[in-house]
């Protein structure tokens, strides 16, 4: 070492220590008796309510099934950190790796080599590129049709509960124009309106981007531009609270029905003050629970399409390469305090 032990004897001693301990470590790592299934689950990031809720569900299932679960993810939603962790788990010899990818494409090669070196790879919350990643299944929380239809149904209920007729103008506030989730939901919303509530008139939807301020401004403009407006959907977790705020600021609580897709934590104040009566989202606890159950089930054999019971979740639909979590969860003033994500 430069600052003292120039003789090198300490360096030799140090190296010997290193080699000794490494050898010791190898011995510790030797064959282990326990054959418990080892599952690693990686969210997009840790430390936010949504992915804490999914962890809660996953741990519940892990306890029931008596499997070893590691639930860990990056502190920022970044692909390179996810890749680092997945490579680490592979060296540790995990049997199953369940990933919620931050980037469906950039993670695919890592998932593929994980699969090739013997692990079972599945995705949840967001799918990876199925061909490139060769993941076994995607646990899909958002049956798009159910979400689109439920959004329209709770809007209709809400307007009728105010004693008003359904006929009038309705507006959807989305996020970016290319967001595929949102565009799919809107297709199903239009379908539901056509089939069940033809008297609802849909205005051209707004795409202010994932920007709270813009959402609020454009909603406020729409509120003054369309006097016959009956209801507004905010269908991203950004646009929904912004829409609610715009309606509240315009003193239109009770006259304009507001609903959408959002997180209970962010929407609580608007449910409490009556701006929002009901809204929906899938149950993230169930999503984590189902993902772990599916991982465990897949280790026992293939999962042909059909309906299955996964623990407390009954009759879950399995399609080709996809497992669907049931219908979305509906939040109102009665149950919103039970959720903390």
């Amino acid at each position: 070492m430069k600052h003292g032990s120039g003789s090198g004897s300490s360096r030799i001693g140090g190296l010997m220590l290193v080699v000794l301990l490494a050898a010791l470590g190898f011995r510790c790592a030797g064959p282990e008796g326990d054959q418990a299934l080892r599952i690693a689950m990686i969210p997009k990031l840790v430390g936010i309510g949504y992915f804490e809720a999914t962890e809660q569900g996953a741990r519940e299932a892990a306890r029931e099934l008596d499997v070893e679960l590691v639930y860990d993810g990056p502190t920022d939603a970044r692909t390179e950190d996810q890749i680092k962790m997945i490579d680490g788990w592979m060296a540790q010899g995990f049997d199953v790796i369940a990933v919620a990818p931050n980037d469906p494409e950039a993670i695919s090669r890592t998932l593929r080599s994980a699969g090739e070196s013997g692990a079972l790879v599945l995705t949840w919350d967001t799918d990876a590129n199925p061909e490139l990643s060769r993941r076994s299944v995607f646990v899909n929380q958002a049956p798009n049709r159910a979400i689109g239809h439920t959004l329209v149904d709770i809007m209709a209920e809400g307007v009728q509960a105010q004693g008003a007729s359904l006929s009038g103008d309705y507006l959807i506030v989305s996020g970016t124009p290319t967001a595929s989730n949102q565009n799919t939901w809107m297709t199903y919303m239009r379908e539901r309106i056509r089939e069940k509530y033809p008297e609802m008139r849909l205005l051209q939807h707004l795409t202010p981007g994932e920007d709270q301020q813009k959402c609020q401004e454009q909603t406020a403009e729409a509120l003054s531009a369309y006097p016959d407006l009956k209801g507004i959907w905010g269908i991203t977790s950004v646009s929904f609270p912004a829409v609610a705020k715009a309606v509240r600021d315009a003193n239109k609580i009770g006259r304009i029905e507001v609903t959408g897709l959002g997180m209970p934590e962010e929407m609580r104040e608007y449910v409490k003050d009556g701006t929002v009566r009901e809204f929906c989202l899938w149950d993230p606890v169930d999503l984590g629970y189902l993902t772990l159950r599916v991982a465990h089930r897949l280790k026992q054999g293939p999962l042909p399409p059909g309906r299955y019971d996964f623990g407390r979740l009954k009759g879950v639909e399995v399609r080709d390469g996809e497992v669907l979590l049931g219908p979305p969860l509906i939040f109102d003033s009665g149950n919103i305090d039970d959720y903390n994500f």
Binding site: S9, L17, G25, V46, E80, M90, A106, S113
Partner: protein, 327 residues
Amino acid sequence: MSWIERMSAGVDSAPPGGRSYRRVFGLLPWVLLALALLLVFSQVRRPALLVEVWVPWIEVGTLAFVMTAIILTGGIDLSVGSMVALTGMVQAVLWQDWGWSIEAAAAGALLAGALAGGLNGLLVVAGLSPLVATLATMALYRGLAITVAGGDRVTGFPPSFLDMGRLLGIPSQFWLAGLVFLGMVLLVHHSRFGRWCFAMGDNRQAARFAAVPVNKVEGVLYTINGLVAASVAVLGAMRHDASIPDAHIGTELQVIACVVVGGTLITGGRGSVLRSLLGLAVISHLDVGLQFLSSRLVWLTAESRLIAIGILLILVAVWNQRSQRES
């Protein structure tokens, strides 16, 4: 053993007195490394796959070998992470939007790296403090990286390009790291250029008076850094089939940490490339070891691992301070 002796000979100087005390201090990084190795190897079931785990750290190491030389001159380059991201995006855009062949695009990325590094060198030579200059270019290059492809990451590179991600069965990053390591050892410890570096870090004014071509040394070093950053970017694209504009955020800190934990003086004048290899070994083993351990210990989350690494850095910094006061 003897090759280590030989390589660090001439850098190491043994001041007289207090040998046994300092010998204990000198052991600290080795003890840490041993503990970290124990951590890693007690958790590994498939050691062959460790190679993959180490790729991100080998990238950090590659950059740290060059950074060592820069820090030896009393400089620093905070823009390395941004340069990796920028050159990766330059390659992607040249290939995807400009229709260049992937090889030409890779050459373009290297050129962009040399230019970016050259600009750093130019600013430093012009008299800006390296800290300020590269802090500015860190933001500039990151901004450019995000702008060139509209913030999108680029994927879908040709298979022939992706196949070069491995050479003789191991990730190409290892070959690059070996090459850069040897190159920097020769440059820093076995050439006149290297002696200039030490002289500049020791006393810049005196070095100028002693006719050391200070500007030339700085220009060359910062440009090399850009080139190496670009090489890391090209190999990264091969491995992941993706160029990501917000990749390598914070990499510069890991790089500098390797250099400093190794024992190179952050103010320059003392240290060696070999020491940075030691620093890399300590930090990477601890990081990977703690990550492995976290599968056993639930409380060892990503956040608490950060805390552990932070405490380690403080420990080593204190150790460095003390041993410097000693000598």
